[in-house]
């Protein structure tokens, strides 16, 4: 499962981010290689979600740069990041609660719909062909995530574990090059975690998505990821393969709360 290529998809270079006087991220650098599963871990408040928000253009770092596919990225809005192939899921599920599973996943295809409003309103000709093609992609994702039985259920009525799955489905519908997952297993029981792990691995291996994820369940992180970057108080304290990170003194210290 190791990324065999050193082809770097995204590089974070000396990024610092602060909100007023609070420094969320200080001078952090790391990279994400094409085809790998990259984990970002750290204690609460370490700056993990902020880091993800920087990567997908929601926050703009005061210092440092992001290189996307080898080129320094200009200031970018989230939808521009999405158009460039970066999809994400959220720590607290962010779906359209009143819409069905299928419709939520279809929204992930929005950027792929090329026909204008006129054609779409007609529901004929090229717009119809496009809709059918996109529906097929969504149905394949529904099959992949084993959520056929909730295809027509409004997501607001679904249990949390399934909502997380639908959210992953919507992100996959974008056919992203880079998939950012913010705590994909939060609040799940063991069986749900195992299912979700399987979907993440398969999305990475068979659907070709490079994945960066934040996760608190260290067991899951060590099983899934190729490389792990560890943040603590906004600083990078380790960046290596899981086996090395696990035995790193600084990482153990950060998690056990040794004074700095």
């Amino acid at each position: 499962m190791k990324a065999e290529t050193d082809d770097i998809l995204l590089a974070v270079e000396h990024v610092s981010l602060s909100f007023g006087g609070v420094r969320a991220i200080s001078d952090v650098s790391f990279d994400i290689r094409r085809g790998e599963i990259r984990a970002i871990i750290g204690p609460n408040g370490a700056g993990k979600t902020s880091m993800l928000n920087v990567v997908n253009g929601f926050y703009h770092p005061q210092k440092g740069a992001i290189r996307w596919r080898g080129r320094a990225r200009a200031r970018m809005k989230p939808y521009e990041a999405a158009a460039q192939g970066i999809a994400r899921t959220f720590q607290n599920v962010a779906l359209f609660k009143g819409m069905t599973t299928l419709d939520n996943i279809m929204t992930g295809r929005n950027l792929r719909m090329k026909r204008n409003l006129f054609w779409q309103a007609l529901r004929r000709g090229p717009a119809l062909d496009e809709e059918i093609a996109n529906r097929r992609v969504c149905e394949e994702i529904i099959d992949f995530l084993e959520i056929e039985h909730i295809r027509k259920t409004p997501v607001g009525a679904l249990p949390y574990g399934l909502q997380k799955r639908v959210e992953l489905g919507r992100a996959l519908a974008m056919e992203p090059e880079l998939l950012l997952l913010d705590e994909p297993m939060a609040g799940m029981n063991r069986e749900e975690k195992e299912d979700m792990s399987r979907f993440i691995v398969e999305a990475n291996r068979y659907r070709g998505a490079t994945i960066a994820l934040i996760e608190h369940d260290i067991g899951v992180v060590m099983d899934l990821s190729d490389r792990v970057v560890v943040l603590d108080y906004g600083r990078k304290i380790a960046d290596d393969v899981p086996e090395k990170v696990k035995s790193d003194g600084k990482v153990i210290g950060a998690y056990l709360g040794v004074s700095h």
Binding site: I142, H149, K152
Partner: protein, 664 residues
């Protein structure tokens, strides 16, 4: 096609039947399957073509006449076609329960001597590979759904589609096609057609060998009995390995030429039922019960007007519906009220349940509650009961359209000879009767009488109107130490008719009194608890709640009162009961795959509770190992309360209902 124009009435193997349909009704739909959200349809001609390709592919893998091939998976068209493909060659398909754990699968696969296994997907492949060392004969493992299997490099593992493609390419040569035609023609009706393993209610499962001509003969009788035609349609959602599916869908479908629709997945079956709208339907009582529970829960949450309409018209249906269905005289105003109810409530309700188009529906497998049965009959569903066995290729008795009751299973099915032995055991001779148990001649001899009847192992009697009544397994009918008759299942079924009780185990044979262990039905008790504002964190906590206990006590008391009114059963009232802290589960071996209680296993696992029930103790402790679906083990530790109940005197006069709860 080398031969053509045969009539399906003359064929004696399923392969020949398929060929006849391909000629006779080649463009009629034969199979449907919902895939990627769309219903895909195959005509009889297409199914014949696909099946030939699979058959030729299997020949390429070395499958020969008389050899066995196992099919492990859910209801999917290609798995059904694999069954027919094997039958084309004269090989014997062995469908295996897909939800069985690896250990059970290994036992059946090994016993079946299968060299080729067709499995549904990665889950089944993984399970089989995990026990491969116990299957020395296994040479080829084929799979229908390729997802997740791309990187497997196991010996003999291949996609069924790839094998079929090889077969199809080979069939392009007319000589090869002619050889396959000759194989189909050479199939004899007396050859084994399929081996169906029993669910193992009474011990290890046995392989029931059925022949083509008998299977088809039996199916023809019942197709005529229920007037099934190629215009009918059924949803195949029952376990592929169960005799019910093989009979009701496969055999009857191939005889009548009707369309078999396969659901998208087990979870979507209820929805797929609505979309397909079958005309012919089978469901076990517990499925009908689950549907009704769902309706009732939704009605309780409905608005006042809807609730009132529902109650008013269900009242009309309850009073007149069954009479109308049975063709009895009914006053005109009642008929009109029922017609209006049909317009407003019954028809929309049936539509919501996916039962609008059903012409004939059957239920069997266990006793069905009178209220439950009456509910469906009264809204105009032609629901009937049958009694059957794998050894009979299902039908032993079946109710006719106009003589339907909930407490009996009907007169003998067409051409079935039925008798009650002196021991009370039901014995039969039937058109679909099995040939023998696979590799167990001694068991076959044990099961047959000297004059060629099959012993069912069930105790029963005929009612005056000729309908058979089953009371229990013959060997389970026992007596209390005082000599009173005790039929555990009879008592348990009375308990299970309450929606709050999912499962019950009554113990009494050779003891001083009857005691019961009860499993609550989570769906309905949880809903009740919610309305009662009872908080709970787990199944175990809910099961131990004193108010739940009090509610269940009322139900047990009602059963006692009913028993007290039956002279033969009055002595078998329940004197002590407890509520089990966990759900009985097939994964723990407590239930069979068809959800029947395994008494031996339960007696062993819950021995400490049974001791408590039989002593005067007010509580008992249990510590048992439980198995999760993925094979991991956990531990269950609990102390459960035991409740004493005073019995009713065996009298006809009902006692006043005001009785103090008498918890120990």
């Amino acid at each position: 096609m080398a031969t053509g124009g045969e009539s399906p009435e003359a064929e004696d193997t399923f392969a020949k039947l398929l060929r006849a349909h391909a000629t006779l009704r080649g463009t009629r739909p034969a199979f449907r399957h919902k895939d990627l959200g769309l219903w895909q349809t195959w005509t009889w001609a297409e199914v014949y073509d696909e099946t030939r390709a699979i058959a030729q592919g299997l020949i390429g893998l070395g499958l020969k006449r008389g050899a066995t091939i196992a099919i492990v998976g859910a209801n999917r068209p290609r798995l059904y076609w694999s069954i027919t493909a094997a039958q084309m060659i004269g090989a014997v398909p062995v469908p295996v329960y897909a939800d069985a754990v690896a250990d059970e699968i290994a036992a059946v696969l090994d016993h079946s001597e299968a060299t080729i296994i067709v499995a549904q997907d990665q889950e089944q492949v993984d399970k089989i590979l995990s026990v491969r060392d116990r299957l020395p004969r296994l040479a080829h493992l084929l799979y229908d759904e390729p997802r997740g299997l791309n990187e497997y490099a196991e010996r003999g593992l291949a996609a069924l589609a790839a094998i079929a493609a090889i077969g199809r390419a080979a069939l392009a040569d007319p000589a090869v096609a002619r050889d396959l035609d000759r194989l189909i023609d050479g199939g004899r009706g007396s050859d084994p057609s399929v081996i169906l393993y029993t669910s193992g209610t009474t011990g290890r499962s046995k392989g029931v060998v059925l022949s083509g001509e008998r299977s088809i003969g039996a199916a023809r009788c019942t197709v005529a009995f229920d007037r099934l035609t190629d215009q009918d349609e059924a949803l195949a959602y029952l376990p592929l390995a169960w005799v019910g599916d093989h009979y009701l869908n496969y055999a009857q479908g191939y005889v009548a030429g009707f369309c078999i629709a396969c659901p998208e997945s087990a979870e979507t079956a209820a929805n797929d039922l609505r979309e397909i709208g079958p005309t012919y339907h089978f469901a076990p009582p517990r499925a009908f019960e689950a549907l009704l529970t769902r309706v009732q829960i939704r009605m309780e949450d409905a608005g006042a007007v809807k609730r009132w309409l529902y109650r008013a018209f269900m009242d009309v249906a309850g009073r007149w519906g069954e009479k109308i269905a049975n063709g009895e005289p009914v006053p005109l105003n009642a008929r009109m009220a029922y017609r209006l109810g049909d317009l407003l409530i019954y028809a929309p309700l049936k539509n919501a349940l996916g039962l609008s188009r059903v012409r004939v529906a059957y239920t069997a497998g266990e006793a069905i509650g009178a209220d439950l049965f009456a509910f469906y009959r009264s809204i105009g569903l032609n629901l009937k009961q049958l009694y059957g066995q794998t050894e009979a290729f299902l039908f032993v008795t079946a109710q006719t359209d106009r003589a339907v009751r909930s407490d009996a299973v009907g007169p003998p099915a067409p051409n079935v000879e039925l008798r009650i032995a002196d021991s009370g055991e039901v014995q039969f001779k039937s058109p679909g009767m099995f040939v023998g148990y696979f590799r167990e001649d001694d068991k076959t001899r044990e099961t047959m009488t000297d004059d060629g009847y099959v012993k069912t192992g069930d105790a029963g009697f005929f009612d005056p109107d000729g309908q058979l009544k089953i009371i229990d397994r013959a060997k389970d009918v026992g007596r209390l130490r005082g000599g009173q008759l005790f039929a555990p299942k009879y008592t348990e079924n009375k308990l299970k008719f309450f929606p709050e009780i999912r499962e019950a185990v009554a113990i009494g044979d050779g003891r001083d009194f009857v005691a019961a262990m009860i499993n609550i039905e989570l769906a309905s008790v949880a809903n009740w608890a919610e309305r009662q504002a009872i908080a709970y964190g787990s199944y175990q906590e809910l099961a131990a709640n004193p108010r739940v206990y009090a509610m269940i006590e009322k139900r047990v008391d009602a059963v006692n009162r009913a028993l007290s009114l039956e002279p033969a059963m009055a002595g078998a009232q329940i004197r002590r009961f407890l509520i089990l802290p966990k759900e009985l589960d097939p994964d723990d071996g407590e239930l069979t795959r068809t959800q029947k209680v395994r008494r031996g296993v339960i007696a062993e696992r819950y021995a400490s509770l049974i001791v408590g029930l039989n002593s005067g103790a007010s509580e008992a402790s249990i510590s048992a190992e439980i198995t999760y679906e993925d094979g991991r083990k956990g531990k269950l530790e609990a102390t459960v309360r035991i409740v004493d109940l005073p019995p009713y005197p065996p009298a006809r006069a009902p006692r006043p209902p005001a009785r103090k709860a008498n918890a120990a």
